[in-house]
Amino acid sequence: MTAPLLRAQGLKVAYPVKGFRKPPVEIVHGVDFEIGAGETLGIVGESGSGKTTIGRAILGLAPISGGAVEYDGRDITAFSARERRALSREIQVVFQDPYSSLNPSLTIGATLAEPLIVQGWDKAKATRRVLDLLDQVGLPKNAAARLPREFSGGQRQRVAIARALAPGPRLIVCDEPVSALDLSTQATVMDLFIDIQRETGVAYLFVSHDLAVVRHISHRVGVVYRGEIVEQGPTRQVTKDPEHPYTQRLLLAAPIADPTAQQQRRADRVRLRALQAEQDLQAMGAHA
């Protein structure tokens, strides 16, 4: 296998704390992962686990306090703002909240053209590209002249995807991109993600708390728990036959939309919980 597109080694993220001489708070405690070109790595975890922070660190939006991030063979860990800007044509983002990820006062066209214009595209060329992008994400051409508030959540997320695609990136960090969407919209947006990947060969770092979503789109999955990746591997293995107790718990906690199957799962979960509780107790006993 060739070198991966993105490689994170021992990645740590810590935020400074307001106040005199307070130590920074570490959110991510050294994680390793790789993403190949055209591949989707799903990152799944619960709130506060640090999964979103990992994505933001890759994007340069969170302070990396340790480890290294390598993109396409280059170490981008300590890139300056200028270098980061140059990297923007390679790495892009789609955020969770379709409402706050688009500037309410800019038209869709202006939003989409912005990354192109800052990279020196001329106006006419950028406009053509914007129309292509809208087409690519399944929005009508007249959408360019409209403001975000005229669009539904799903449509906005399509705009956000188009914006990410605009400079032709090779990696898109997707931070819970469908969590805020309605069920029916969620499915179509997911499909769009997959279609685009197939079309353009872009790689995804796909962050989500929803195992079903991750399972749907990822080639490989990493499970984050308290700032560490506790389990990583091919999607089928991690989501069907997890090894780590936390992954097991996570899997069984998600209800299946099938009354009969869910009854079974609930029973499994109760059993697992009892088992883990017993183990904990033993561990405590051993400790004591």
Partner: protein
């Protein structure tokens, strides 16, 4: 996803709408606001009168004629009379407008430029935050007026210099608004997205942040304009600065000194100043309404409003715990007509049964739940239908009766646990308050009961949680606390509005288990509002699917999952990402010569 307090009135897909209507700019909205139009016109009139100050009156503002001393109103050539020095009051009044406007312009524009720049820099760049904040605090603490007077020799008493200095003193106000907005906007994801897109900081500030900050700043500037005029007048009233410049303050001072000789002279400038200031304040208010949404209407804590022609049906005894029939809930549009967001919903819940109320956002499920509870927002109106709880009509029931019912027979679990606890009281005192209202127990007994309940809902250290404030416990714990509060009076009906949506999936499972256990223990009926079919499959005996304010399908959970009758239900079920779909195509690597999407 906080619970909507107002309905989603705009259809989700707005592309086909008339764009002009939707994209009506702030300006167009402003010109439709009578308050803005009237006050704007008043200001404009003042400006025009000021510009005509050399045209309308027959005299210059400083032309003093002995024969015009204290002339009464309506004298020839002196429409508003003459002042103590024989000057044309009208001329002075009109020139005072110009002084006021120039004062406002200087004061406000300096505050605006400096404040906005500082606010943007301090709000956006972390490293400048502290120094800029210090600077603003110092400016704010400065004994500015004192220095203004002491240092008069340096400014020569020219009101324009005074106003320029005053502009600096006003800077912290604008600065704080801009800074707070900037800090807020900087956290917006679209700013992150712009950064990731390679947009420079300058461009982000200019294009993304300034556009958002603009509204509040314009509003604040309007108020600053008014206060600059006020300060100029105040200083002129005190006689600080050049006496040659006609100004409202100087005129008021002259008139005040002359009040026993010619009482009317005081009124003109006072009224002009009052009206001008008022116009600016009210115009600023109108601007704020336009930019930031209109002034909130009062919030009444009473029984839900009902439509004029509403008449609740008589209770019928079908024996069900909850019978909702043909419930309609509407909101009044700005133009006055009622838009129904819940259109004739009917539901039935029996004891011990859990009804899943399922639908996508905006389908009206939460509004239905609130309608049953009688806690709809003030703006909502019940248009039709009936809600019968245990054989009793509760729709349109008086507040007192509702309160009694709520404390005993019907209870509610909200979606967002944190925001549903009062942040300033301990968990314990909030629980005790609810328990005492519903049971009339003594304080000590209520505390005992609260601790029991906390233990019952699975809180590991009830004593500690009892003493804790909401912000000191986790979301999952908070939801347990809310459940404890809800089930305290052993209600017959529990309405849970997306009780697990805000929680992690592992916590969700625990909470659902808890609810099921409590139901088994107390035999209550539950209405579980959710958009998650997994939760429905897990916990509901029957379900009702809502779309666009209507129930499109009801039935036993098993039946509906197996054989959905309505196409919408089918579509929803079809959209579920099921367990077995696992992506298995291999990662596709495009060849190097492959297409550059550009």
């Amino acid at each position: 996803m906080s619970t909507p307090t107002a309905p989603v009135a705009v259809p989700t897909l707005a592309l086909e709408d008339e764009p002009a209507e939707v994209r009506r700019g702030a300006f167009q909205r402003l010109v439709r606001d009578p308050q803005a139009v009237i006050t704007g016109l008043i200001i404009l009139t003042f400006v025009v009168l000021g510009l005509l100050a050399n045209v309308i009156p027959q005299h210059g503002p400083n032309e003093a004629r002995f024969e015009a001393i204290n002339l009464p109103v309506g004298s020839p050539d002196y429409p508003l009379g003459g002042d103590y020095a024989g000057r044309d009051i009208l001329a002075r009044l009109l020139h005072s407008i110009n002084t006021a406007m120039v004062s406002g312009l200087i004061g406000a524009s300096i505050a605006l430029v400096v404040g906005t720049t500082l606010g943007l820099v301090g709000g956006y760049f972390n490293r400048f935050r502290t120094p800029v904040e210090w600077g603003a605090t110092i400016l704010q603490t400065f004994p500015g007026m004192l220095l203004l007077i002491v240092l008069m020799p340096l400014t020569g008493g020219d009101f324009r210099w005074t106003m320029a200095i005053f502009g600096f003193l006003l800077t912290p106000g604008i600065y704080r608004i801009v800074r707070n907005q900037t800090v807020g906007v900087s956290r917006e994801l679209y700013v992150d997205a712009a950064r990731v897109s390679g947009v420079t900081d300058m461009r982000i500030l200019g294009r993304h942040i300034l556009s958002v900050v603009r509204g509040p700043v314009i509003v604040a500037t309007t108020f600053l304009f008014g206060s600059a005029i006020g300060v100029q007048s105040g200083l002129a009233y005190l006689g600080v600065g050049s006496k040659e410049i006609p100004s409202f303050g100087a005129m008021i001072s002259d008139g005040f000194r002359n009040i026993y000789i010619a009482p009317g002279q005081y009124i003109w400038p006072a009224v002009a100043l009052g009206v001008l200031n008022g116009a600016f304040v009210l115009f600023g208010n109108a601007l704020r309404d336009t930019f930031e949404g209109s002034q909130p209407k009062a919030e009444k804590i009473t029984a839900t409003a009902v439509a004029d022609d509403f008449e609740a049906e008589k209770a019928d005894g079908t024996g069900a715990l909850l019978e909702v029939r043909d419930l309609g809930i509407a909101y009044r549009s700005p133009s006055g007509e009622l838009n129904e967001v819940v259109r004739g919903v009917s539901l039935t819940v029996r004891m011990g049964e859990t009804l899943g109320l399922v639908g996508e956002s905006g389908s009206g499920k939460t509004q239905t739940a609130f309608g049953v509870l009688g806690v709809l927002p003030t703006e909502a109106v019940v248009t039709r239908g009936s809600v019968v709880l245990a054989g009793r009509q509760i729709l349109g029931a008086p507040q007192a009766e509702l309160n009694r019912l709520r404390g005993s027979e019907i209870a509610y679990i909200p979606q967002e646990p944190m925001s549903n606890l009062d942040p300033v009281y301990t968990i314990g005192s909030q629980l005790v308050e609810g328990i005492r209202v519903s049971t009339g127990l003594s304080k000590a007994k209520a505390k005992e009961r609260a601790l029991e309940l906390l233990e019952r809902v699975g809180i590991p250290d009830p004593q500690r949680t009892f003493r804790s404030y909401p912000h000191e416990i986790s979301g999952g714990m908070a939801q347990r606390v809310l459940i404890a509060g809800a089930v305290a009076p052993k209600p017959k009906l529990l309405i849970a509005d997306e009780p697990t949506t805000a929680l992690d999936v592992t916590v969700q499972a625990d909470i659902l288990d808890l609810l099921r256990d409590l139901q088994a223990e107390m035999g209550m009926g539950i209405v579980l509002v959710t958009h998650n079919f997994g939760v429905v499959a897990d916990s509901c005996t029957s379900l009702a699917v809502m779309q666009g304010g209507e129930v499109v399908e009801t039935g036993a959970t098993v039946d509906v999952f197996a054989q959905p009758q309505h196409p919408y239900t089918s579509m929803l079920l079809g959209s579920i990402l099921d367990e077995d779909t696992i992506r298995d195509d291999s990662a596709m690597v495009l060849v190097a010569d492959g297409k550059d999407p550009r």
